[in-house]
């Protein structure tokens, strides 16, 4: 089943065009990596899906529902969870409150308790400090918290803007292993903004490269990361360079 069907999507900030004619289809259980230089429109792409920025043109269908023009909470309630760039932890809320914030849409109490334990097992540091305000956490710890929080909503599709940013390599491994487990076990669909080509190669899946708000390269992640085409497209070299 096509989870995410993006057709002709453009986004403007005022007169500035941030995203132009993006087309994409993502099947359930698939992984999509989005990469590209700074200012390429990667974060805008995620925000458009989350309903945080308005579409200028085009349509986005998620789980078969048109979400263009829908508000973020409605899209979240369809089963979409977003980890935006910049680690938006709620600093005055405790760590556990942060984790529980996203479960308001769920009624399966036992599963919630179990998944909370799963998150705590994966990131024991969060459990130790569960009753402290999240603002005291370091950058890397906050990143773990927002990823944990996004998973607590029990999403079918999760979008993460640069999960590796500010995390120690060991923790990045942990984060990816949790994501892979959820993908394999319950068909979680992943949409990840990632700059590390090793990570992309290890995980596999689809990949798009954005530059100047346009998709300049699209295909199988492992194949794209192998050749020079990716580097060329990333930096915008000419075709025959």
């Amino acid at each position: 089943m096509t989870l995410l069907d993006i057709k002709n999507v453009s986004v403007n900030y005022g007169r500035l065009s941030a995203l132009r004619n993006v087309n994409l289809a993502l099947e359930e259980g698939e992984t999509l990596f989005v990469t590209g230089p700074n200012g390429a429109g990667k974060s805008t792409f995620l925000k458009a899906i989350a309903g945080v920025v308005a579409l200028r043109t085009g349509s986005i269908r998620m789980f078969g529902t048109e979400i263009g023009g829908r508000v973020p909470e409605d899209i979240a309630r369809l089963g979409f969870s977003m980890v935006p760039e910049g680690r938006h932890v709620f600093g005055s809320l405790t760590i556990e409150e942060n984790l529980r914030l996203g479960v308001g849409m769920r009624s399966d109490k036992n599963a919630i308790a179990r998944e909370l334990e799963d998150i705590y097992n994966a990131f024991p540091m969060l459990k130790e400090r569960r009753n402290q305000p999240a603002g005291v956490l370091s950058g890397g710890q906050q990143q773990m918290l927002v990823i944990g929080r996004a998973l607590m909503t029990n999403p079918r599709l999760i979008a993460i803007d640069e999960p590796s940013l500010g995390l120690a390599p060991k923790v990045i491994d942990d984060v990816y292993s949790i994501l892979m487990k959820l993908r394999d076990r319950r068909g979680l669909t992943l949409l990840i903004v990632e700059q590390s080509s090793t990570r992309v190669t290890m995980t596999g899946g689809q990949m798009i490269l954005l530059r100047g708000g346009e998709v300049v390269l699209q295909g199988n992640a492992r194949e794209l990361t192998k050749g020079d085409a990716l580097k060329a497209a990333y930096f915008g070299y000419g075709e025959n360079h």
């Binding site: 508000v71 909470e73 309630r77 935006p84 709620f90 409150e97 914030l101 308001g104 849409m105």
Partner: protein
């Protein structure tokens, strides 16, 4: 000792009013970055809800005749309804406007409410007898404290405790705190923006109603200006407390109440009429020292 106790109760009961007002403003600012200048007119509206509309000099008591167990919920409900209605009819349209536009809209709304009341009730203050038995003093360690002061303080403490319990212990409270800190992120986690904002307005309106009830009982009059004087100080309290910070609003409310009463006592008789100049002078000093207020929120400016 006796005088000290008197001053303490004066300060606490005045501070209570300011604190309740400041929280009402801070709650709304928290969830939508709106400084609601119509808040004072909510207070006036609730006060006038005790009366039957008439431009006669004598008040025709209406809801004010009800027994307390009915009167209090009715007035609280009136405040909540007016407040929610102003969100649905007015502020919702300005959700994405800049804060200055929203502020102007709230001014305009305040004038609409005020002049509607003027049309219905005329501008003359009217006297109304509400729970006059509460004005009787009680003896406490040789000091004669008006019972109403004690009740005001107790009620304020109960309201604050209830609010803390709501914010800390309930799902809606959690969502409201999250929304106050980062609204967009909260929405991306499924928090319903409209529900949280509407609830904040309802609570804010009920706070305005409680201030109205306390004021009427204290003064025995119903006056169109009643709300605005409290509102001005309450607004200053929210700024001093750090806009959007609820604990800050409460502390600053009591602080201003305390300073006002203290000035009244320690200032020489000749300068006493200019007390407010000293109070607001202190406000300026505090703001120079802490421009973002005593309890500045890191998130007060950021809005994704």
């Amino acid at each position: 000792m006796t005088a000290l106790l008197q001053i303490l109760f004066d300060a606490l009961s005045l501070g209570s009013l300011y604190a309740l007002g400041a929280i009402g403003i801070a709650l709304i600012f928290g969830v939508m970055r709106l400084v609601n200048f119509a808040h004072g007119d909510y207070i006036s509206f609730c006060v006038f809800a005790l009366l039957w509309p008439s431009i006669d000099a004598t008040a025709i008591v209406f809801a004010g005749q009800l027994p307390a167990y009915l009167l209090i919920p009715v007035i609280l409900l009136a405040g909540a309804c007016l407040s929610m209605l102003s969100e649905i009819l007015v502020f919702r349209r300005f959700r994405n406007a800049n804060p200055a536009t929203m502020m102007i809209a709230s001014f305009a709304l305040g004038f609409v409410i005020k002049y509607t009341l003027l049309m219905l009730f005329s501008s003359r203050p009217k006297s109304i007898d509400l729970w006059h038995e509460l004005a009787l003093p009680i003896e406490l360690l040789d000091a004669r404290i008006p019972l109403l002061q004690v009740i005001t303080i107790i009620i304020t403490i109960l309201i604050l405790a209830g609010l803390v319990a709501f914010l800390k212990r309930t799902r809606f409270g959690l969502e409201m705190r999250a929304a106050a800190e980062n609204f967009t992120m909260a929405r991306m986690l499924g928090v319903h923006a409209n529900a949280v904002i509407l609830l904040a307005f309802a609570i804010s309106g009920m706070l305005a109603a409680s201030i109205g009830l306390i004021l009427v009982t204290q003064t025995g009059t119903v006056d169109i200006q009643m709300g605005s004087s409290v509102m001005l100080v309450a607004f200053i309290a929210t700024v001093i407390g750090g806009l959007g910070s609820l604990p800050g609003a409460v502390v600053a409310g009591f602080l201003i109440g305390g300073i006002s009463v203290l000035m009244q006592v320690i200032l020489p008789l000749d300068v006493r009429p200019f007390r407010d100049a000293f109070v607001y002078g202190a406000v300026i000093v505090v703001l120079i020292w802490r421009p973002n207020g005593l309890f500045a929120l890191r998130s007060a400016k950021q809005r994704v």
